[in-house]
Symmetry: C2
Subunit: 342 residues, 2 copies
Amino acid sequence: MRSGWIGAGLALMAAGAAAQERTIPTRPLPVPADVSPQMQAIISRPIAPTFNVVPKTPEEWAARQKASADGAVQGVTALAQRLHVKVETRQMAGVTVYEVTPATMAPQNRNRLLIHIHGGCYVLGGGLGAANEAVMMAGLGGYKVISVDYRMPPAAYFPAALDDVVSVYKEALKTHPAKSMAVFGSSAGGALTLETVLRLKQLGLPLPAAMAPGTPMADLTGVGDSFHANAMVDNVLVSPEGFCGPAAEFYAHGHDLKDPLLSPVYGDYAGLPPALLTTGTRDLLLSNTVRVHRKLKDAGVEAELNVFEAEPHGAYSRDDTAPETHQAFGDIARFFDKHLAR
Amino acid sequence: MRSGWIGAGLALMAAGAAAQERTIPTRPLPVPADVSPQMQAIISRPIAPTFNVVPKTPEEWAARQKASADGAVQGVTALAQRLHVKVETRQMAGVTVYEVTPATMAPQNRNRLLIHIHGGCYVLGGGLGAANEAVMMAGLGGYKVISVDYRMPPAAYFPAALDDVVSVYKEALKTHPAKSMAVFGSSAGGALTLETVLRLKQLGLPLPAAMAPGTPMADLTGVGDSFHANAMVDNVLVSPEGFCGPAAEFYAHGHDLKDPLLSPVYGDYAGLPPALLTTGTRDLLLSNTVRVHRKLKDAGVEAELNVFEAEPHGAYSRDDTAPETHQAFGDIARFFDKHLAR
């Protein structure tokens, strides 16, 4: 299966842009000294030799999905204990969600609700592990969070994931006004954050008061300079020839990858709520994050950007003991506090 | 002459970090399709084969300085004509400045004044060409700007440049309240923007209402992950083994490179005015820009960050016809409008 990310690169070369292409020579990339030891450990991880091993059949995708889900349960359970957060499995509008509640909640947060959308290239990251970032936000930011365990392929394809998030949001509207809610998530969850708000706008539903798309997988068509500049620099996504492009295409299931509900950088951002975007300098999706930031600003949306030093894809939510994690979620918590009604 | 940037890299390797160092393989870097044609032209420029040719004597530095200054006059003159901006050479407190006045100025800007500090690795960028960014801000943003043609080595060394900017600022305080002023500049000028505000704080002088450090050369000690990750990716500064490190050391003249008045990332940011930082994803100083952004936020300073897609060092002020240039200066103009008293 050819990824859209790879395909677009080939198309660009065929169009003649290769004449201006430069070749970057091989070079050393030391671990930076001025990030926390926890972040140095994350940055030091070697590139997995299987980064570009792509399942070939629905059964292989399902097996990888199950292995990912099973492997995450223990971590999120321990995280919830460390951060004194309660995680309860519920159904909302027929969708499995994790209701994540911090042990203590400031008075101004008691009527507020965050909707969290997990990442995993639209195929991985489900099950209880979906709640990982939600637990961090509840524990570090003191918010109640609903994390959506949306349907994924091969069980269900585009727009099933988006439909599930929208269904949960509509259900939440029955108990919380939109002005007291925000949506957030990282990677595919960052893209789904944007896609959800774009879809709510299409549907004429009230928009949440704020959003925090983390390193959004905002463009499945291969556009984004850091796909090339940060190839082999980012030790998580690694390269546009990695797993994530084919996984997103598996979800798209033949649908036009440039649809803003799959590549939200191409959406109409007029009227969208204030946004705080988060990424890292080594992130393969650095460009797609800054492109979304620019598009939001050009549309007149209040949009802030955090880029963390030397962090690969999604590193700001990997270790709850890292000061950088507290900075990232602390900033999002303050941003939501500024914009959400009490 | 060994640059501090290079020296720190070697020290890091000697300390054992090399064991965790990865080697990034050679790879193609296409010109992105989703930036303006003007920006594509800037990004397409080949790396100058002389990027790491460093003068060896004061006379060679002076010759390079003069060639740079002479070469810039025609461009800034044409720019001022295109943007309908008047540029007049004046003396303020014994320092040569360029008073840059737009043809039309909105009522709210008539009592406001911006102080501009040019870049050029502390050695280049002087003469009338110093005013280049000031002309863009006046023409695109509608502000009156004073651009400081500060002394540079070999005529004068650290802290001469900083002293000159502070002298001009103090002189400007006689006609404009600090709350109606802002300071801005790029590269060494971005560092000098931060150094100026840190120095004003030391001196107990009133601080400007806002600042806009563009891609600040904020760390001369070699720290900053993008020195490595964006080496040979940034076609302007190119590499930590390039011209700029030795030039800054030539200015430092033996002074401790970690002094916050030379490496302002190490300053105490408490109480500093709101800041808008600008850089690009290919910028060799991407890391130093985001490190300053984080330090400002951690100190409780209102700090915003713009990172432009695929832009090498300082590209946002290279071509006044590029939409990206209008975005960058438009954002800074709005940021100043928000924070400066009328």
